[in-house]
Amino acid sequence: MATYDLKVNGRVHTVDVQPDKPLLWVLREEIGLHGVKYGCGIAECGACTVLIGGIAERSCNLTSADVGNAEITTIEGLSVDGEHPVQQAWIEGDVPQCGFCQPGFILQTVSLLESNPEPTDADIDREMSDMICRCGTYQRIRGAIHVAAERRKP
């Protein structure tokens, strides 16, 4: 076992875990953040996506040690009550079906817009296609990304 101080959603959590335990399970079961989802465990689906220093990463593919001092943001920490422009765009577009994949897609979008505030469809294709939505909400995800980009404009 090893102890780590993880900065998650603006708070420091001290966890005592196996060093090789994936961050996904640390966030879910040590810290109780259930918005981080388990879909594949091999970085193929994106359900476990979190922001690390503002950049989307697959938490199933990282350990606590990999994160170091960086700030981790999960869907629970993205906003107090859904007021983040990406969440707003998602609500307006009524994007989710089962909803399971959506925290991952939302956080991936936040990361995308940070580096590319006005993504083209081709940019969206490139950035959002190593994730899976089995319900097939892709058309609405694409629409919501454009709406969120518009909203973020100063």
């Binding site: 079961e29 259930h34 388990y38 193929e44 969206i124 959002m128 097939g136 694409r142």
Partner: protein, 707 residues
């Protein structure tokens, strides 16, 4: 007349969140006894209540699987009770045996509840109007309900529902409440946002894996890799050495590793060494295809026979034959299976995602020797379902372990567990024959399918023989009417577990019908739409959606040069769908640019939710067409995760244009019907683009590079 009753004064409304003092009206569901007693109606689980605060509660026992059922059902109640939707709360009670099986599947939740829900809500409305009239000494015909209150049409003095509830509760339920006219709808048929969206966008929706509570043990299982195997010997030393692993429980057909957390449970399971006693002839995919091909020469069971196909073929100017092959595929639900089970004091509590709480309860009760009535099931959100969660296997595992250890357990499946141990859509091999006359019209059609029966495997019955009606859905009930028509089923055993997957057999059957139709139209040198219209009766709703799809898509002209069009149509689950696909193929790479989808489901209660199902149906149709297939070796499924079972990605999603057609017919389903016509429309467009006919799925690896 259905059995609608006043339950307001019943004080045994336990297990509900209905407020005291409410006006409560209950209605029997159509599959229940319509002469039901009051108690039966209570037990049917469809109750509409108006509280003293004027809020409306709808209690129902369908499961929200992502199809928007909660929103749409609340919409119906709000419409009939004349309140805004934000005044309606939806309560889903803990399932008990009195509710019946409560299967959420087959595009049924709205179709089944539409009538009883409206009747209950309309009865409540009339009772509130009645209470108002007796208080004000008006006659009902001068009064109306509007926006949560009752008022005189001319004098305008209104009293809110909440103040009328007590008086209304003492009134008898009207014999035949007058339902609102469709033309007066202000909510039903209008775009409505989903109620569950916010929770899902904020990460607050609770799914199966999220039922964490302190001290809860996680259970991961080693299961026999092939069908029907049993545990031989177990070496659990390495598993028990993993930190966090607390215990190993050996069952008859699986071995459970219990741990304090999910990851340790998975690791412990991976460290188990189990020898399996495997039985049966364990086959591989190639051998199974040979078996199917051999079976295709069998006579099989003819389920529809019109005219004389042999004569028809003999006298045809042109005869075409083709063979299509569709592999086993997986549901690959987004959240692997999971549920939490606690066996205690002669009862069993199950909590998790399911499409059929009644089936879970029966299976669990049988597995651990309880009465079904002693099993209680609480549903969570499901990380997609598509038919996978009709099966109770994961709950049975949990119950067996919980009983053994005397504590609650959470069953956790890894992605690999889910991929290799679920219930697959049956593979099928189809033989088609058809004849054309000298004018290039279809005169003769024969469709024979070789495919295993899900029913036969899931509900074995030695007395059952003949064709499986389900397997023939979309083969023998098509609207096409050539002079000579034959539909045949050759049942065959399945080497792996079978399950119901969105549209069940209709997606496979539609693909084969519609692609072969396209082959025939091409052979006749005719337009594929015209060619189909020849054999569709004038009053066929399929004819209408097909014509509409052509008209609205610009058929037969692609929107841009370098693109090609394909079209297909299919009816199932009470609805009629047609689709036009616009594609291009460059160096063997298929790009689907646009899908124009037309659906006639009679009435779309919430068009927003219907469109979502249409978009999802297109995505799944493409996914299955492009890459999905389950292969096996010695009876073991080879695919294990999303790296080798790779569903559709966002970059592959076409623009989907949805068109809904209204009709006065009975309401049709929306979850299933758009999936089947997708793949054939695209495949026909691929032919138009490349001249290549692909008759075996998935197609990505089969597309020619020179297209």
């Amino acid at each position: 007349m259905s059995a609608t009753v006043n339950l307001s004064r019943r004080r045994f409304l336990r297990n509900t969140s209905l407020a005291a003092g409410a006006l409560v009206v209950g209605t029997a569901l159509p599959w229940r006894n319509v002469t039901a007693s009051e108690a039966d109606i209570l037990e049917s689980g469809v109750l509409v209540a108006v509280g003293t605060d004027g809020r409306v509660t709808l209690q129902f026992t369908w499961n929200e699987l992502g199809q928007g059922a909660m929103t749409s059902l609340a919409l119906v109640v709000a419409e009939e009770l004349c309140v805004t939707t934000d005044r309606v709360d939806v309560a889903v009670p803990i399932w008990e045996s009195k509710y019946g099986d409560n299967v959420t599947g087959g595009s049924s939740s709205m179709r089944m509840s539409w009538q009883p829900l409206r009747e209950a809500a309309a009865a409540a409305r009339e009772m509130l109007v009645g209470a108002y009239c007796s208080r004000m000494s008006y006659v009902p015909s001068d009064c109306k309900a509007e926006n949560g209150a009752v008022m005189h049409k001319k004098l305008g003095k209104s009293i809110p529902y909440g103040e009328l509830v007590a008086q209304a509760s003492d009134l008898p339920v009207p014999e035949s409440p007058v339902l609102k006219d469709r033309a007066d709808y202000t909510l039903v048929g209008h775009e409505t946002p989903r109620r569950d969206t916010r929770d899902k966008v904020l990460g607050r929706a609770v799914f199966g894996f999220d039922l964490a509570r302190p001290g809860l043990l996680r259970a991961a299982f080693a299961r026999c890799p092939s069908l029907d195997g049993k545990v031989g010997s177990v070496d659990d030393a390495a598993a028990l050495a993993i930190p966090g692993v607390t215990r190993v429980v050996t069952l008859e057909t699986s071995v459970a590793v219990l741990a304090n957390d999910t990851w340790s449970a998975f690791r412990g399971r991976d460290a188990l060494r189990v020898e399996w006693e495997e039985s049966g002839d364990r086959t591989d995919s190639a051998a199974y295809w040979s078996l199917m091909a051999g079976k295709a020469d069998d006579k099989g069971f003819v389920t529809r026979n019109e005219g004389d196909v042999d004569t028809g073929l003999a006298s045809a100017s042109k005869v075409l034959e083709a063979e299509y092959r569709l592999p086993f595929i997986a549901h690959a639900v987004m959240e692997p299976s999971s549920c939490t089970v606690h066996v205690h004091d002669g009862t069993c509590d199950v909590e998790g995602p399911t499409q059929a709480p009644g089936w879970v309860a029966r299976a669990v009760a049988e597995a651990i020797g309880l009465d079904t009535a002693d099993v209680h099931m609480k549903s969570t959100y499901a990380g997609s379902a598509f038919g996978r969660r009709l099966l109770p296997d994961y709950a049975i595992e949990g119950a067996l372990v919980s009983k053994e250890i005397g504590a609650p357990v959470q069953v956790v499946w890894s992605r690999e567990d889910e991929m290799r141990h679920e219930f697959y859509r049956p593979a099928s091999l189809h033989r088609l024959q058809a004849g054309l006359d000298a004018d290039g019209r279809l005169t003769t059609w024969s469709h024979k399918t070789v495919t295993p029966s899900i029913t036969a495997q899931r509900f074995p019955d030695p007395n059952r023989t003949g064709a499986d009606r389900g397997a023939m859905s979309g083969i023998d009930d098509v609207d096409y009417r050539p002079a000579h028509f034959r539909a045949t089923h050759v049942p065959v055993d399945a080497p792996i577990n079978l399950g119901w997957l969105r549209s069940v057999y209709d997606a496979q059957n539609a693909l084969v019908n519609e692609c072969f139709m396209d082959e025939l139209a091409a052979a006749a040198g005719r337009d594929p739409v015209e060619f189909r219209l020849d054999v569709l009766p004038d009053d066929s709703r399929l004819r209408r959606v097909l014509t509409e799809a052509a008209a609205r898509s610009g058929w037969p002209h692609p929107s841009q040069p370098g693109r090609s069009l394909g079209i297909a149509c299919h009816a199932c689950f009470g609805s009629y769908g047609a689709q036009m696909a616009e594609v291009s193929v460059t160096k063997g790479r298929l790009r689907v640019h646009r899908i124009v989808s037309v659906l006639d489901c009679a009435l779309a209660v919430n068009p927003n939710a219907v469109r979502a199902q249409m978009e999802g149906g297109v995505a799944m149709g493409l996914s299955v067409l492009l890459r999905e297939r389950i292969t096996f070796d010695r009876g073991r499924v080879l695919e294990g995760n999303f790296d080798d079972y790779d569903p559709l990605r966002l970059s592959e999603m076409p623009e989907v244009e949805c068109h809904l057609l209204e009709t006065d017919a009975d309401m049709g389903g929306v979850g299933e019907p758009v999936f089947p016509p997708t793949a054939p429309a695209v495949l026909n467009a691929v032919f138009a683009a490349t001249g290549q006919r692909i008759r075996e799925l998935p197609i990505e690896e089969r597309l020619r590079g020179d297209g």
